[in-house]
């Protein structure tokens, strides 16, 4: 009786998820893959088969090359701003201060309650390089604010800062939750042994929290690249000259501004493949580390 259940039950539990994923993810991906071999504008009655042309364009077109480079810059910035810093701060809040921990947690999380549209609006206003409040304050102390919207790298920085404002608390809480689930007795034992805090963190806490940490790292890259979509769309629309665009935004631009469904689909598939490589690397990394510790 129990055995029979064991064979069917897991699939019953998996069924809702499986159905949803098939309809709204697996089939759509296949369809997009199919579209990536055609020249189409979303509505024309016929699609023209063009083979690999769209993929060749993704890698040879200088604009797309620039966008792929930008995507790498985004990844670096996002990892530093939305992963390394929140992790550092969560360690400090957890282990290096004794008062006000509750207050900090409450306050840090508040911005993640906001929509990125709102964040983008508030920050473009505050950071207006000529006429924003910050520009005025800087002017008062004799500094000029750089016109960040004219420089790709500065625009990327500002866009990442906006997502950082929103995501910081979210990632902070996730990491802190992870730190919180570390068994107390291990830490107590280390304390009693008089091991310095930073060594405790480095040798015990970080390895133990690896699961959540790597999850947040993955999230930072994959979600982050999609999170920045909204500020890019609201503030720079990818400018100056694609300087702040990334593959996600470029996919959208091709699909819904230029109506080049084929190029857009090829870009989407390429993004997906890059993400899958990331997934593969992460799994590899986690597996090998696991073997060291277990």
């Amino acid at each position: 009786m129990l055995n029979k259940n064991n064979k069917i039950l897991p699939f019953v539990y998996l069924l809702p998820t499986a159905i949803l994923l098939t309809i709204f993810m697996i089939i759509p991906i296949l369809y997009t893959f199919y579209l990536s071999f055609f020249d189409w504008n979303l509505i024309a009655p016929t699609k023209e088969f063009v083979g690999l042309k769209n993929y060749i364009e993704v890698f040879t077109d200088p604009v797309n090359q620039k966008v792929i480079l930008n995507t790498l810059i985004y990844i670096i910035f996002l990892v530093i701003l939305n992963f390394v810093i929140p992790y550092f701060i969560s360690l400090i809040v957890k282990f290096f201060i004794s008062k006000m921990q509750g207050t900090y947690k409450v306050l840090f999380f508040i911005p993640s309650l906001f929509s990125l549209v709102v964040g983008a609006m508030i920050f473009t206003w505050i950071l207006n390089p000529v006429s924003g409040p910050l520009a005025y304050i800087l002017k008062a102390i004799g500094l000029t604010m750089p016109n960040w919207s004219n420089s790709g790298i500065l625009a990327i920085t500002v866009i990442c800062l906006i997502t950082n404002w929103k995501v910081f608390g979210y990632n902070f809480i996730l990491l802190l939750t992870g730190l919180g689930s570390i068994p107390k007795n291990i830490i107590d034992a280390a304390r009693i042994d008089g091991i310095p805090k930073w060594r405790l963190v480095w040798n015990v806490i970080l390895p133990m929290n690896r699961g959540i940490a790597i999850y947040v790292l993955i999230l930072t890259i994959v979600q982050g690249l999609q999170y920045v979509f909204t500020p890019i769309n609201v503030i720079t629309t990818g400018g100056p000259y694609y300087g702040s665009s990334n593959v996600i935004y470029q996919t959208y631009l091709n699909a819904f501004v230029l109506y080049k469904t084929g190029t857009s689909s090829a870009l989407a598939i390429t993004t997906f493949l890059i993400f899958l490589i990331l997934l593969f690397l992460e799994i590899k990394f986690v597996e090998s580390r696991d073997k060291d510790y277990v």
Binding site: V63, S149, N150, P240
Partner: protein, 425 residues
């Protein structure tokens, strides 16, 4: 007893059901059938959305057999086109849509629509409505590259030069000197040297409307016979002027919203932008703001591409088409057109509304509109390339962005021109 009760109940129920069916039938056959149509527009609440709702309500109240539902499409004409694409893909298209000039050819070659000439012939029996309401120039805006009328001009706009009179007065700048681009540059130098502020901001949205105006006002042509020709001597000179102003910090180079905020805040003395900004500037500026005709280069005259939109009928059913035509006629009545202008900041598109006392009064109360009305006589259709028009516009946007970040003007414009022409065939 129980059985009886149920039998009685079932009889009563079936009688009731029958009466409902009859009532339903008789209602359908006796009263006029209501034709439902949807109207897609782009007017956000900051830009006359409430006026659109008000006009639609008035139409529905006075036309009992038609019901119009207005739908707002975010992100302007581009957003509307995007939604129309998706609607077409899902098989549910609206009946009337507001199409921006830049999407003229794109719309005509990708969507099914009923040209106003056909609608007039079919439902009125003559072309009278079109001929009496629109002049040749404004109709020319709404024609595609084959000369076919795609819709009827609905809103018109032109770029003007908004000025901060307080700043100009402070640095003794004569308004008349701002008629030429050279004068604008001189004034900007004066302002910049004495206050560190920027002289000029030229709007930088997701199109090159204002930049095209600058080139046109230097005697350049954007296109000739469907081929791009903007990389001419004059076109290059106009862009060099612009690049030079930006490089020497006389002109501000920043996205549209920020640029306008800087003008409204008083950090930029002049703003070269659409007349549609007038009411926003009036409401938000705490200085004395005015508008003058957009400047031209010495030896040329001010020529601008017209901005705004047309109304096109996308309904496929004859009943819907008729209702849509009825609705259009209502929207083009003097009363509606002027109300709409007041709500949106655009200029009216019909001859009589432009001349009406109501609109003239309105211009008197809002003198910022006068230069835009004056400029209309020098407006030409917005360049819309016959093939791959959206990608052509993107090529021009890319060229603008490159030039303003320091690329060589003539080679950048030339390569953009070649790229566009390669697609025209």
């Amino acid at each position: 007893m129980n059985k009886k009760f149920f039998r009685n109940l079932s009889v009563v129920l079936s009688l009731l059901a029958l009466t409902f069916i009859f009532a339903g039938c008789s209602k359908k056959s006796s009263a006029n059938e209501v034709t439902k149509i949807t109207y897609w527009h782009v007017n956000a609440q900051t830009q006359g959305g409430a006026t659109v709702d008000q006009l639609v309500k008035k139409f529905n109240d006075t036309h009992k057999n038609i019901k119009v539902t207005a739908k707002y499409n975010p992100n302007m004409y581009q957003g509307l086109m995007q939604n129309l694409q998706s609607a077409q893909a899902s098989g549910k298209v609206p009946d009337i849509v507001q199409v921006g000039w830049a999407y003229d050819n794109y719309f005509a070659s990708n969507f099914k629509y009923m040209t106003p000439t056909d609608a007039a012939k079919k439902f009125d029996g003559s072309n009278k409505f079109i001929d009496t309401n629109f002049n040749k120039r404004s109709l020319s805006f709404a024609k595609d590259s084959t000369g076919k009328l795609v819709g009827l001009p609905y809103s018109l706009s032109t770029p003007v030069l908004f000025i901060n009179k307080d700043i100009l007065a402070k640095y003794n700048i004569d308004e008349n000197s701002l008629q030429t681009c050279e004068g604008v540059k001189e004034a900007s130098q004066k302002i910049n040297q004495q206050s560190g502020k920027y002289g000029l901001y030229i709007q930088e949205p997701g199109d090159t409307w204002a930049q095209q105006a600058l080139m046109l006002s230097h005697g350049a042509d954007i296109q000739k016979n469907g081929k791009a020709t903007f990389a001419s001597k004059q076109g290059i000179a106009a862009y060099k002027y612009y690049q030079d102003m930006v490089n020497s910090k006389l002109a501000l180079h920043t996205p549209w919203a920020q640029g306008m905020d800087s003008f409204v805040k008083g950090d930029v003395a002049m703003a070269f932008t659409t007349i549609a900004q007038a009411s926003h500037i009036k409401k938000s500026a705490s200085f004395n703001a005015a508008a003058i005709v957009a400047p031209h280069f010495k030896g040329s005259k001010t020529v601008v591409p017209v901005g705004g939109s047309m109304l096109s009928i996308t309904a496929q059913d004859e009943k819907q088409q008729k209702a849509a035509w009825e609705f259009e006629k209502f929207m083009y009545s003097n009363d509606s057109t002027v109300t709409w202008s007041k709500g949106t900041g655009y200029l009216p598109s019909t001859k009589s509304a432009l001349k009406s006392a109501d609109f003239k009064d309105y211009v008197k109360q809002n003198p910022m509109l006068q230069p835009a009305v004056d400029t209309l006589d020098n407006a030409i259709p917005w360049t819309s390339f016959p093939q791959k028009g959206l990608q052509a516009e993107q090529a021009m946007i890319d060229a603008r962005d490159k030039i303003l970040s320091g690329s060589n003007v003539s080679s950048t414009l030339k390569s953009a021109q070649e790229k566009i022409n390669a697609q025209q065939k």
